[in-house]
Structure formats: C-alpha cells, structure tokens
Symmetry: C2
Subunit: 375 residues, 2 copies
Amino acid sequence: MDKHKSLGITQTKYYTFAETPNEMPLESGGKLGPITLAYETYGELNAEKNNAVLVLHAFSGDAHAAGFHKGDDKPGWWDDMVGPGKAFDTKKYFVICSNCIGGCKGSTGPSSINPKTGKPYAIDFPMITIVDMVNAQRQLIDHLGIKKLLAVSGGSMGGMQVLQWVASYPDMVCCAIPIATTLKHSPQQIAFDEVGRQAVMADPDWRQGNYYGHKQPERGLAIARMIGHITYMSDESMEEKFSRKLKDSNYSFSFKTDFEVEGYLRYRGDSFVKRFDANSYLYITKAMDYFDLSGGKLFPAGRKINTRFLVIAFKSDWLYPAYQSKEIVHELKIRRVEGTYCEIPSTYGHDAFLLEIDEQAHLISHFLNTAYENL
Amino acid sequence: MDKHKSLGITQTKYYTFAETPNEMPLESGGKLGPITLAYETYGELNAEKNNAVLVLHAFSGDAHAAGFHKGDDKPGWWDDMVGPGKAFDTKKYFVICSNCIGGCKGSTGPSSINPKTGKPYAIDFPMITIVDMVNAQRQLIDHLGIKKLLAVSGGSMGGMQVLQWVASYPDMVCCAIPIATTLKHSPQQIAFDEVGRQAVMADPDWRQGNYYGHKQPERGLAIARMIGHITYMSDESMEEKFSRKLKDSNYSFSFKTDFEVEGYLRYRGDSFVKRFDANSYLYITKAMDYFDLSGGKLFPAGRKINTRFLVIAFKSDWLYPAYQSKEIVHELKIRRVEGTYCEIPSTYGHDAFLLEIDEQAHLISHFLNTAYENL
C-alpha cells in the first residue's frame, strides 16, 4: 500500500435540490429545502456505472476526504485510505465523499440562510436524523446517475450512515463497510453527547442559538470538544503520548497548564471552535443519539438482503466498543446476510479508524476487489 | 452482615490547629493556618488506644460517614460499611472519619475566611496536595491521643490518602485498605479533571474565583459534575439503569431531555451545585492530579514496612481501573510488604466502592479482625 501517492489538488462541489415547493420530508415530520450537499469525487465513474464507492465522514468531518485543497498543506481526513493504489483505489473506483446535512462544511445546516427569513436558521433549523442525512445523499447519488453503489463505507457516525443506507435502500448497496460504529448509541454515548450539548448551551454566548453575527459560544464548544477528545483516544494511547509529562520542569501549584495532556486538550478545544459551528454540534450529536437500528430494524422485514458486509472494530475503542460491532454481526447472522467481522488490535482508541491504516486498508482493498471482480 | 443496624444520630466535630504563628507548611512551599478539620467518630477508643480506624472520603465526600444527622433522612456516605456489626464494626473499633482540607464541608478550604483579609480565600487559597491533607489529619490523630492507627481505609481519593499515610507515616499505620484507587493519576484521569476545571473556569459566574457573595458558577460546576458521573458509572451499569429509555413516549425532536440518562445527569449536576463549592472542586481535583507515589515513592527508602495491605479493585471500574490497583500490589511485592489483592466482579463501575457492600464488607471485616486479634 503506497501511502505517499496523492490525488493532488481536489475540490469540493455542491449539489442543490429540494427547492420550494419540493422540500424534503424529514423523519421528525418537518421539511427541509432547498438543500445543498457539499461533496467531492475522486477517480472516474466507469461506463457501467458500477464502480462507485460512497465514503461518509464522522461527526465533525467534511466532504474533503482526500487530496489537497489549493494552498493547504494538510490533505483530506481519509487521504491515507483514498487515492491511487490505496484501500479505496481511485484508479479502479469512483469515490464520492458526501458531507452531511446539519453540518457547517458547505451543506445545509443551522448556520445556513433560512430562505423564509433571510437569516441563519439557528435553532429554527429542523431536527435532522441519520435517516435524513442518507435521504439527502440518495438525491446526490441519483443526480450522479448511479443506480447501485459498489460500496458504502465510513467510521463512527459515517458507519451509522452506512447502516442506514442498507436499512433505507438495501438494493442500492452492493457492499457495506461500517467501521467503529454501532446500531444505536448506548446511554454512555448519549451521556457524553448530552454533556457536550449542555456545555454549549450553558455558555451565555450561545444566546439560545442566535449567536450569528456575534462570536460563537467558544468556551462551551471548546469544553464539549475536550470531552470528545478524551473519548476518541484510549487510556493506553494517552499514556503512550502524554504519560504524566509536564509542560515545565515543575508543578506550577496553580491552575495553569501543568501536564502536557492538559495543553493538548486546550489546544484541541480552541482550534475546534475556529472550524465548527456550535449549533451544528448540537444538531449532529442529537442525530447520532436518535439513531437506532437495533432489534431487527437494520434490514427491512421480509426482504432478501444481498448486501455483503465487512464490519471493522478496534480493540481499544471504548467509545464505540467492539461489542457494538458484534451486535451488527449478530443482526447479519439472524438474517443470513453475508459478512466478515474483524477486530483490529490497535491502541489508538476510537481514533484508530483514522490512524490504523495498514491493516484496515488491507482488509478493505481485498474485500472491495473481490466484490468488484464478482459483480 | 446486618446493614440495618444504624449508629443513630451522629454529629460532626471540629478541631482547629496551626494557628498563627504556627501555620502548617505545605508541599507547595506555602503555609496554611489556622486549619479546621471537620471529623466524626463512631464507637469508643479502647484503653490501649489501639482500635482506631481512620476512614477517608472520596473527592466530594465529607466527615459524615455514618449514622444520621438530626433531621436528615439519609445516612452518611459509608453507612452500609460503618456501624455496629458492619465491616468497620463500631462495637469493636473507634472509627474516625476526617474531612479533607481544601473542601467545603467544614474543613478549611477556599470558601473559608482568610484571616489576613477577613474575606473568603477564593483562589488566594494556597494549592494543597494529598500530602498536605494527610499532614493535617496527622494533627487530628495526635490530638485524639492516638499513636498508631489499626487501619486507614478509603476509596478513590480516600484511597490516595491511605497510600499517602503509609508513605508519610508508615509506623503509624498497622493496616492499609486502599480501595478503587491509584498510585498516580493517568493522563486520562488528569484529562477528565482538567475538562471539569475548564468548565468551571469558563463560566463567567466564576469571576476568577471571586464569586462569594454572588451566585456560584452553577452552570460550569454542573457540567463538571455531569462528566464526573459518567466516569463513576460503567457502560454496563448505565445500560442496566437507563438503556435508551425515554422520559416521554416519543422523541422530542428538540434539545429538551429525551432520554432518562440525560435527565439523570442534569439532576445530578443541578443538585451538586447546591452542596459543593466550585473553588473546592478546582483545588481538590488538582490535588488528585498532582498525587504521584509511583516508582518506589510509596515506601520511604531503606525502611522496613510493617503495614499490612488489603487492596481492593472493581472489575467494571474504568476510572480507576484494576490495573492501577495491581500497580500498588507490585510495589508491595518489590518491598516485600504483606498484602492481599482482591478484584470484586461488580458492574457498578467506580461507584462500586459505595454500592458493592457485601463482598467488600466480608473482606474488610475479616482482614481487620485478623489484624486486631494479632496485635
């Protein structure tokens, strides 16, 4: 696997649909429109249009999965996995990465202009769910002229969308690759999300969501992100990276930063608020908490499911523990759906889906290759 | 073990020492005085003064370990363990529970009046450490006329004080019972504490610590406590208690409380701010983060240690995982100190030291009894 081959310069595209009066119905009973989706594509769609792979990002990700945006020195969030000769080999596959609705990275979300008022939606934005995210992506896939996806893949919230794709449109998904994800949030996962939301909403700068035109609730959002970062790493990976290393040579005996881990969290919190909208944080965490395909809801009743699964979990991931991936596999067994489960022995915690490249790439490239050759 | 026998009405006493010009020197290089310690005692000190057991509370605990305060319908925090016929049998032992300095439960802390200014210390309170907490308790034990403690016991931060008692005054401790604790905070433990502190300090009501006479930083402190509660429970115990149960029959599709676990955390956060001082939160978490008896510091070099240990951990405790208790046991082995290790198979997480009574009581009463009979 050559990690160094890059797609070079890539760029984000936009697709707008669901314009008045054809707003998209939402799971909550509301409607949303017009909807813009930010997305990127890499590689070429073949003549048969059967080599398309949809890649879906985690909670705070975006459409920019691979290559470099002009002037940037950092590539997209899954550049190690998407490109020529990589797991999602752009010499063979047409890779699409779609941003989700509700976010703040070019797709319609609470910071977008509400056409009815000419102002940002703020918390008048309707509650969206993983079902709605997938329904919007479906429109994009139709727009690109694709009838059936060779694969849908993603980690964390991206993995929830993978599962929802199968639940909503099983005939459109040849292969599903849910990574470090779950059929439903446990109370512990809901709890971490809820504390983050409360931190945002407790910040007076949140102004009941109407902070646009003012500074955003930076302190609350930074706290929320700091909590997040603890859950993305493992006890082991924090020990390896920070142990009890001090910033200076002695304890400060004050509330300044003593330990490197403290400085790291503060830095991560502070940089997050520059790139992410606080209301999007609220909406998207809520979408994850509402998600629930447990108890047989993964597969529409009475339908033969031909989708093949590769389910990947990471040993040290305690935010989306391996037992949750095994629950997905259990659903496959019950419905006699073909699937492989792999638990990768990483110490990176939940972040492993972004960092543990070699074994993940090996599994995925082999799985995709077999599927593609047997089409 | 009869859990229903109660000590009846108990009350908190106070001991003041280190008055000017005899302030107590602190590990940070500062001084503190006068110092008041709130404490309770249960049972009778025998004529030989060799039946005293010191019980130490966790982070947000207090001196009120057992029995009922007049008018209260809830007993002390370890009432299941302390009383006639219980693990710490007050028919046999003289049990002392000392509150820690830095707190807000009757002992000197940041909300106490600074004699130099006539106003609350706020963040002019000197930084205190576990060493200082134990040095203050040592004064109380001297005051009570006790030369050697039969046992020192406590869970979580109480366990750190147990270890520090042995490190500071090994000849004064016959038995040590550290429960669900550690020789040092890992970066993950520091990280959770730091996020809590940042949440408090980000609240504008914190006013750089000078909120006395105003309302306290309730929102920030509630967030900190919510994070704490997630870490005190286990993934399993949250699943057992809450699963995905809703408060109402349907999703609200809003930012109101949907899930029972959300309501529980909000309730816990809101009730904590009524009983705990935000600056004490900052000082005490910092004391825990600074604590470090790893790498041979548990036992003074070159001294024969006669203290016997009973080290208890709980299987589902991920805040103070069992491996940290095993590190204590490792130190015992290196120095040929007598000790027993027991990992109790509880699902309660870190809270188990307060909830998993039967097995804990069985272990402790047997251990104490043997020690007492062989004095």
